[in-house]
Structures are given as structure tokens and as C-alpha cells.
Symmetry: C2
Subunit: 191 residues, 2 copies
């Protein structure tokens, strides 16, 4: 389909390479030399584009934040109108299939952890994305707390998967989704 994409520029190639390394071999393996080699440039070449290692990490995380924001926006747009549209988008985001297994998200998690490892402040761009989602969530016509509970459950599921804390089969996943969907009913708990 898009096999004729132009070759990415050096910074992009470097960011890609760094992500690949972090995903495949963990934070410790992400050295300037390794990233440079993987990207097909020299260490000096890498340092021309990212003057410090921290700049590289920041670049990775900024791109990640943009990606996450765009992805959520896409899921939201695909959602039919509903009083709890944002909440339902989160549910879809969490449970709908392509997303669940996506290697993309393993990579996102790896980048996230790598950044946190180096300096928690690097996470700020992502924090802003989540804060934005939470603001949207507040505008849903739902009893207070329901949206947050669903969001927290989604995050918990995601984290659990990242850390290999629990792997659930399709049945359990479906049951969880059903449970959370009860919380996303507009009339739920209305007085």
C-alpha cells in the first residue's frame, strides 16, 4: 500500500533504531553506540542530531506522546455518538483486538520505562496526554468516578501486560469488559 514511502531522515531513523533496541533488549542495552550502529550511522553522527543521551530519550518520548495522542484521537473519532463517548473510546482502546496484541504497544511501554528510568521528568509529555484524556472523561454524562474507574482498569490491564503480572484469556477479558461496560451506562447509578 505505502511501499513507496520515502526513506526516513536521520533523526527518525535514529529514533526508530533506539526504540527497537529498547524493546528488544531493554533499557540497559540502549547505549549511544548501539543506537548509532542500529541506525546505520556513527556515534558522532548520532550525537550531531541528539547532543546528549537525554536528548535522545526526550525525542523518543515526545514522539511516543504524539503517537499515543493521535491513536486515542483516532479511536475516539471512530466511536459513534453517545453520552459517554470518551469513556467508551477508552473501553474500545483497551479491549479492541488489534490494539491488544500490538507490538507497537510493547515498544511504547519500553520507551516509557526507559525514559522513566533515566529521569521521571521526561514523562511529562505523556502525562499531559493522559491529563487531557481525563479532562475529556469528565465531560461524559456519567456518575462521577465511573469514567475514572474504567480508565484505571484499562491502565492496570496495560501495566499488568507490560510487566507480565497477569495474562488473561479471551473469556476473562470479555467478562471484564462486560463488567466495565456496566459502569459506562449513562443511567448507571442515577438517583
Amino acid at each position: 500500500m505505502l511501499d513507496r514511502a520515502p526513506p526516513p531522515d536521520a533523526p527518525t531513523r535514529i529514533l526508530d533504531a533506539a526504540e527497537r533496541i529498547v524493546q528488544a533488549r531493554g533499557v540497559t542495552a540502549l547505549t549511544l553506540e548501539a543506537a548509532a550502529r542500529e541506525a546505520g550511522v556513527s556515534k558522532g553522527g548520532l550525537l550531531y542530531h541528539f547532543a546528549y543521551k537525554e536528548a535522545l530519550l526526550a525525542g523518543m518520548l515526545n514522539r511516543l506522546a504524539d503517537g499515543v495522542a493521535a491513536e486515542f484521537e483516532a479511536v475516539l473519532d471512530a466511536q459513534p455518538p453517545h453520552p459517554a463517548r470518551t469513556t467508551r473510546a477508552i473501553l474500545a482502546w483497551t479491549f479492541d483486538d488489534p490494539h491488544m496484541v500490538c507490538e507497537q504497544h510493547q515498544r511504547a511501554a519500553a520507551v516509557f520505562l526507559a525514559a522513566f528510568h533515566h529521569d521521571p521528568a521526561l514523562l511529562d509529555p505523556i502525562r499531559r496526554v493522559f491529563a487531557h484524556i481525563r479532562d475529556r472523561l469528565r465531560q461524559d454524562a456519567l456518575p462521577p468516578g465511573h469514567g475514572l474507574a474504567i480508565m484505571a482498569a484499562g491502565d492496570g490491564l496495560f501495566m499488568g501486560r507490560i510487566f507480565g503480572m497477569y495474562t488473561m484469556d479471551a473469556d476473562e477479558l470479555a467478562a471484564m469488559r462486560a463488567a466495565l461496560e456496566r459502569l459506562a451506562e449513562p443511567q448507571a447509578g442515577a438517583p
Copy 2:
């Protein structure tokens, strides 16, 4: 009350020191030398008790897993009989106050992350603890998925706090708890 506790032995002191470092200054600051100094032994002394750095990490994580298991057991024991007793214990564990702000848990998170950073396989002891809790959860008289949803939400909240992704005020927390408690009602969603 117990101010006459005997001084801890060297391995315990080292583990304590390592935890303190990891919590206060992050994974990167946990070097053998730093841990040794903080524990008041020499590097050689530390290596006598923990032959590799990995052994130190494993020791930290094993102790953590034991602590978490004991803590959950205590919360569970404090719970009055109820068809969804384990689920309610998780709710209490997640939301009841002393636990929420506890510095202990910041430390637990730091140890967890440090271990994961070094080698994800190190997390196995904790994984076992969570698997055990999940088994208990399944025995609650609740529609399938409700317990899991609550557990995931608790994990999400915990992770969110660790990574500073979102900080919720007391009202939001209370609303979340109320929402999740609806899922912990035995009759909830019964046909």
C-alpha cells in the same frame, strides 16, 4: 513499643540500604559500592553476602514479594465475612488510607522497577503472589470479570501513582471507589 529490637543482621541491613537508595535516587544510583556504604559495610563485605548484583536484586525482590503477600493476607483477615470477601479486601487494600500514601509502597514500586530493569524474570516471586490473589478472587460469589475489573483498576491506580501519571483528589478517589463497589455487590448483574 518495640524499641529494643535487636540490630538486624548484615544481609538485612544491606537489603534495607539498597531499598533506600533505589527509592531515593533511582535504579541508576544502586551500585554495589553505594549500597555497601549505605549499609555500613565494605564492597567486599556486601559481595560476601550477595555474590552478584543480581543476587542482591533477587534478595530485594523476594523480600518484597513476602511483604506484599503478608500485607494482603492481613487486609484479607481484617475483612468481615462476605460473599465477595477477597474482592472487598482488594478494594480496601487499594483505597484505605494508611496504604494509599505509605512510603512503604513507593519503596516497593522502586524495588519492583529496579528488578524489572535488570531482568524481568526477577519479578517471578511477585507474579506468583498476584496469581495467588487472582485465584482467590475467582472463588468470590460474583459475576465473572467483576473481581478482575476491580483488581485491574487497583493496579492501574497504583501504577498511575508510581509514574505520576495522574493524581486524584479525595473526591475523585471516593467516587471511583463507589463505582467499583457497585461491581462488588453479589447480586450485581445477576440474571
